[in-house]
């Protein structure tokens, strides 16, 4: 009775020992992965901050303006003059609708073989 108990206890101890040992190594490995990841994140954050700064620099008017000046001649760029601004209500209204009756008459004449323009030319040449 006591012997079986002892055997079970010894077995449990060995199993626990092996388990703890394995766990310890697993944790160590996880910790080193964590440190590695942290270092990676740190590096990427640093890179990101650099890229953001680059982006901000490239977007500055003080950076864009000289580029515009450099390509002014090639692209035909010129500053906008006040006269060149317009409003929607300054646009002319659409032309009134075409004269429907006259068009119908024209098409009917063409269908029946008389070309009014030809008639006009003939009339003028006589």
């Amino acid at each position: 009775m006591i012997r079986t108990l002892n055997v079970i206890l010894v077995c449990t101890s060995i199993a626990a020992l092996v388990g703890v040992y394995g766990l310890k190594y697993a944790v160590e490995e996880t910790a080193s992965t964590k440190v590695e990841l942290e270092r990676l994140i740190d590096k990427q954050q640093a890179d990101l901050s650099m890229l953001k700064a680059d982006w901000a620099y490239l977007n500055q008017p003080s950076h864009v303006a000289p580029i515009v000046v450099r390509h002014e001649a090639a692209l035909g760029l010129k500053p906008v003059r006040p006269e060149q601004f317009g409003r929607l209500d300054n646009l002319p209204m659409r032309k009134p609708a075409p004269d429907k009756a006259a068009l119908d008459a024209l098409f009917e004449a063409l269908d029946s073989g008389i070309d009014p323009i030809e008639q006009l030319i003939i009339g003028a040449s006589q």
């Binding site: 740190d42 954050q45 640093a46 901050s49 650099m50 953001k52 700064a53 901000a56 620099y57 977007n59 500055q60 008017p61 003080s62 950076h63 303006a65 500053p79 906008v80 006040p82 006269e83 601004f85 409003r87």
Partner: protein, 589 residues
């Protein structure tokens, strides 16, 4: 059996055996207790030892947190970054771990040749745990040092402030020191507000702080900067400055002062300019000037608002005014009787003095107090200078003050007053942080009546169409700009010099619906061509016009050439009595 034998043994022996056994047990217990005390004592001692160990968290007297502390990004009103943090490596050494100092010095100097060999040798020798070698390196340089593989050298990632716009907004942004603490401009103001506290608590470390939005528009700032830079070649100016304010919210859209410095290299703020010291200060907030004739707008606003002067009144400007030994005369003298609007248009000193006298000198002085001209400017920049305005005006001081001499205020004071004059008389404190109209409205403080404001707008526009601002108006056609020139003679060796002048133009646009006020200064301008003049209309005026022409479309102001807009500015009193000088195209009604 045992009982029987015990009974047989003599009592004394029995007692002895019991005693000796109990003594043994007691001894064992004592040993166990001793052992336990020993073990626990060791544990307690170790605990005390661990507790008293001071962990070295500081780097040369500064906490690690402070070194890696970040600052919030600064954005302009449209969200463009004006200041960002970048994370850069800094090289440090642990001298006690360096094996061969000589080798380390030689190797390091192959990558960083600018380091002095003796300095480096002294730095790396000894038993210290931490010394900086070089802070804020580029990642490429850090990589090369890493490749050298010197033991005892390592890197710390530090936050470094970077201003992508370079010099353009230097006086607004200010600068930070190497430990990322604000030392000037908005950076210092932010620290005074709350960032410093966060950094101290270590909360600002490695975390994204909410960005700070300024009222500045980077595009407008760029236009003003480039146009003011242009005055150095065009008019051979020795300095120039300008500020633009939103009249309704008090937000500063642009603020430029030249010569300036590079905020990425704060030491440049102390460099000599043209062989002179202290030229790179912010002329808008920490420069005070006699602003000359632009100040007449203030006099007119006060006089008209007092009700004692009307636009249709006439003033005798035939002869100069004598004060004891002095006689004050006009620069472009007409020497005839002038109406109020003519006095403004021809910038008559005599007429302005008479207008001020009609108002009363004490009332004029009180009006300046109302405008805050005698108080330091309330703005978020630490660089400020108090205005110089005499406490009490004598006759002559009041007379000179009416046309802007004998008192010095900052250009920002002037811009703030101009903004109030065109904004229906509502004065609003200026700010560099973003603010909307709803937030600004409770801060409004009436300084003149809306009727007076309408008359001032008319006078300013009249001056642009007919008077000294016509060169400005020719540049900014269609944008209904108006303003007043001022050509103040500078004091050289205690006397006013007629050759060295400060040209000022104080303006507002578009006057039919006032939105922005601007003050431009050009210091000691010279003739652009032999035919041109040196008065403010030729330089500060034209600069104003060019700036308006470029920024108005960005700010959503459409050009309009309709004469109706200008006619609508004419106050009813003028329209009813069309005077001959009224050339705003008023039809005879």
């Amino acid at each position: 059996m045992s009982l029987a034998s015990e009974a047989a043994v003599p009592t004394i022996a029995l007692e002895g055996s019991r005693k000796s056994r109990s003594q043994l047990t007691r001894a064992r217990i004592r040993w166990v207790i001793f052992g336990l005390i020993l073990v626990f004592g060791v544990i307690a001692g170790r605990l005390v030892q661990l507790g008293s160990v001071v962990v070295e968290t500081s780097i040369e007297g500064q906490t690690r947190d402070a070194i890696t502390a970040t600052r919030p990004p600064i954005l302009d009103r449209n969200g463009l970054e004006m200041a960002v943090d970048i994370r850069v490596p800094s090289l440090f050494a642990e001298p006690r771990r360096i094996i061969d100092v000589e080798e380390a010095v030689t190797a390091l100097r192959t990558v960083l040749p600018e380091l002095d060999a003796d300095w480096l040798r002294r730095r790396l020798t000894g038993d210290r745990g931490f010394v900086w070698v070089k802070r804020e390196l580029t990642p490429a340089v850090a990589d090369r040092i890493f490749q050298l593989g010197i033991p005892g050298l390592d890197f710390v990632t530090e936050s470094k402030r970077f201003y992508p716009g370079g010099r353009e907004a230097s006086h607004i942004l200010g600068a930070v020191n190497i430990d990322n603490q604000g030392i000037a401009g908005i950076e210092k103001n932010m620290d005074d507000r709350d960032v410093a506290l966060l950094q101290e608590l270590g909360l600002a470390r490695d975390r994204a702080l909410a960005p700070v939005s300024l009222s500045i528009d980077a595009r407008v700032q760029h236009v003003m900067y480039s146009e003011l830079l242009d005055t150095f070649t065009r008019y051979k100016a020795i300095a120039a400055a300008g500020v633009m304010v939103d009249v309704r919210t008090g937000e500063v859209l642009a603020m430029v002062s030249l010569p300036d410095f590079d905020p990425n290299n704060p030491a440049s703020a102390f460099e000599l300019y043209d062989g002179k010291k202290d030229q790179r200060f912010n002329r808008i907030t920490s420069g005070i000037y006699e602003l000359g004739s632009t100040f007449k707008t203030v006099t007119f606003a006060g006089a008209i608002d007092s009700g004692r002067v009307r636009l249709t009144d006439n003033f005798d400007a035939r002869f100069g005014i004598r004060f004891g030994r002095f006689t004050i005369d006009d620069f472009h003298g007409k020497h005839r009787v002038l109406s109020t609007s003519e006095v403004y248009k021809y910038s008559s000193n005599i007429g302005t003095i008479r207008i001020m006298q009609a108002m009363g000198k004490d009332e004029f002085r009180a009006f300046l107090t109302k405008l805050g001209m005698d108080k330091p400017m309330q703005i978020e920049l630490p660089e400020r200078r108090n205005p110089v305005v005499p406490e009490k005006f004598s006759e002559i001081v009041a007379a000179t003050a009416s046309f802007g001499h004998g008192l010095s205020v900052s250009p920002l004071h002037m811009a703030k007053a101009m903004a109030a004059f065109v904004n229906d008389g509502m004065m609003v404190p200026v700010t560099l942080y973003k603010r909307d109209e709803a937030a600004a409205r409770p801060l409004y403080e009436p300084v003149i009546s809306p009727q007076t404001s309408a008359q001032i707008r008319y006078l300013m526009r009249l001056n642009a169409i007919d008077g000294s601002g016509s060169r400005m108006d020719r540049e900014a056609r269609g944008y209904r700009t108006g303003g007043k020139t001022g050509t103040a003679e500078k004091v050289v060796d205690g006397r006013y010099s007629s050759s060295k002048t400060l040209a000022v133009f104080a303006s507002a646009f578009p006057l039919d619906d006032p939105q922005y006020a601007m003050v431009i200064l050009v210091d000691e301008p010279q003739k652009e061509t032999p035919q041109s003049g040196t008065t403010a209309g030729w330089n500060a005026g034209e600069v104003t016009g060019r700036i308006v022409k470029r920024v108005a479309p960005m700010l959503g102001i459409a050009p309009d050439f309709s004469e109706m807009l200008d006619q609508a500015l004419v106050p009813a009193s003028m329209a009813r009595a069309p005077a001959p000088e009224n050339r705003l195209g008023v039809p005879s009604l």
